[in-house]
Symmetry: C2
Amino acid sequence: MTEYIVGVDLGGTKIRTALATLDGEVRAEVEVPTNAQAGYTRVLERIAETVEELRRQVGLTTKPLRVGLGAPGPLDPVRGIVHVAPNLGWRNVSLVSDLAKLTGVPVFLENDANLAAIGEFTYGAGKGTRDMIYLTVSTGIGGGLILGGRLYRGAGYGAGEIGHITLLPDGPLCSCGNRGCLEALASGTAIAREARELIGKGGGQSILALAGGAEDAVTAKTVARAAYQGDAEAKALFDKAARWLGVGIAAAANLLNPAVVVLGGGVMKSAALFWGRLEEEVAARVLPGTREVLRLKRAELGKRSGVLGAVAFAIRPE
Amino acid sequence: MTEYIVGVDLGGTKIRTALATLDGEVRAEVEVPTNAQAGYTRVLERIAETVEELRRQVGLTTKPLRVGLGAPGPLDPVRGIVHVAPNLGWRNVSLVSDLAKLTGVPVFLENDANLAAIGEFTYGAGKGTRDMIYLTVSTGIGGGLILGGRLYRGAGYGAGEIGHITLLPDGPLCSCGNRGCLEALASGTAIAREARELIGKGGGQSILALAGGAEDAVTAKTVARAAYQGDAEAKALFDKAARWLGVGIAAAANLLNPAVVVLGGGVMKSAALFWGRLEEEVAARVLPGTREVLRLKRAELGKRSGVLGAVAFAIRPE
């Protein structure tokens, strides 16, 4: 009899769940809204419901062997606790034991960026390598490290925070409270902030027009749209962000000498706008020994990287 | 019968060799000048002579089991080749096979900073941890990473180059050709360069006086001496370097979430001048999850960290 596991990618807005065999073959997959405002217990019930739904779809009469669960926020994978998850409104919740009780299945927890890294490493752009840095560039910049073929967690389960490498000590304030972090210079939020600053100085009129004239409505997407239409100011904003991204990637690559750096996240949907600039900056800044082995690649699994990482993690929890 | 191994730390100016038991107990140790100008073959003979000398001292009649050898420069530990070692004047030498032929003992090669990291991890400031970043701050800034209890080499054996994290993209030129690397901002060479720039602008007169009035003779040591005598300009130079060192360490710590960062090298002899400033900068810049687990420590083995790392490596070559 085939045995199954479940992977869950729990995000602030969506829950994505997949049922797969122990060989990693996905048999069914579903995405539902998180509805975080309904509260902690209701979110857990939603997760359990997706698992039931997939069991029904596949016609599985037994329980799955394990659930691999990715969640945001600083968390303790060993004790199974999420310390803080602002998007979900959670603080120090015993996610693992609560969900295990609800589903009757053992649950293994890991942070979402780490699982996305495992996903790309196992099924996507990092396949076949042993040393990989994964970055997700969206409203923030998160990351995960696969070193020597395994997820590297760090002494306090906090490794991979490439978004919080300082690149400009007196630079813009970051969400972490520090200044000049990579995240504060190259995330979608940073691009939007720079665009609004430009508009505040009387520039960026094409960008503003695309946001319906409302400065507050300007996002990185608006800037990307303007850049695709040929707007030079918008292009310059992406160039600047790409330069910082290159500086940050080169710093991490010089430290870790990986075979591949994989970039995912919403901002990478606009990669065509700045990929050349990014590659150029990385090549200029990495040491010869790293330049020789390093490849820069776009993530290949899109919004499925997290759930597929959760599947791989459920198959072989470390 | 007790079996022995040998650890060798080959530097540009000195060779340090130790004979130890498989339990890591050092029975004899010797240091001789490298005399690199005498040429490659003569340096190899010097190494072989130190091994013979130690065997005599201990009264060992058999050959040691293995030699663990630390050497400078980008090298390939698997093929046993040193690619470039400017201090020794070497390029693409087959160090492992040549030394093995000469001594009749199997040789295992690793770069010197990685072995110093292993030394501090096994016998020094990193003992008892699993995740450690080692930095050596001297004329340059080198480093080595112990992750999950093992040396992490990277995909091209080039991991640990913490000195070449970019911190100031348009900053001073680094020896690697890049701009604004940690090494270009906080090494002994950087401190001396800043002092000479200060003198060039008419300042730094106490520093200049301590160098006998010769601007070219100013080194980081001269600046340290002036600072210890209470010179405010010299103290400010160390403060500035310590700040950059803190920014660089925080960047690496946010990425790797280590339990300990160990600092060695010549500049750390003056650590009393800047340790407080350094700790402050690191604390201000690391993420909460890293701040909780991280300790900043001075290396404990002094000039023996390399040779003791070579001993540990010879005992258990990975």
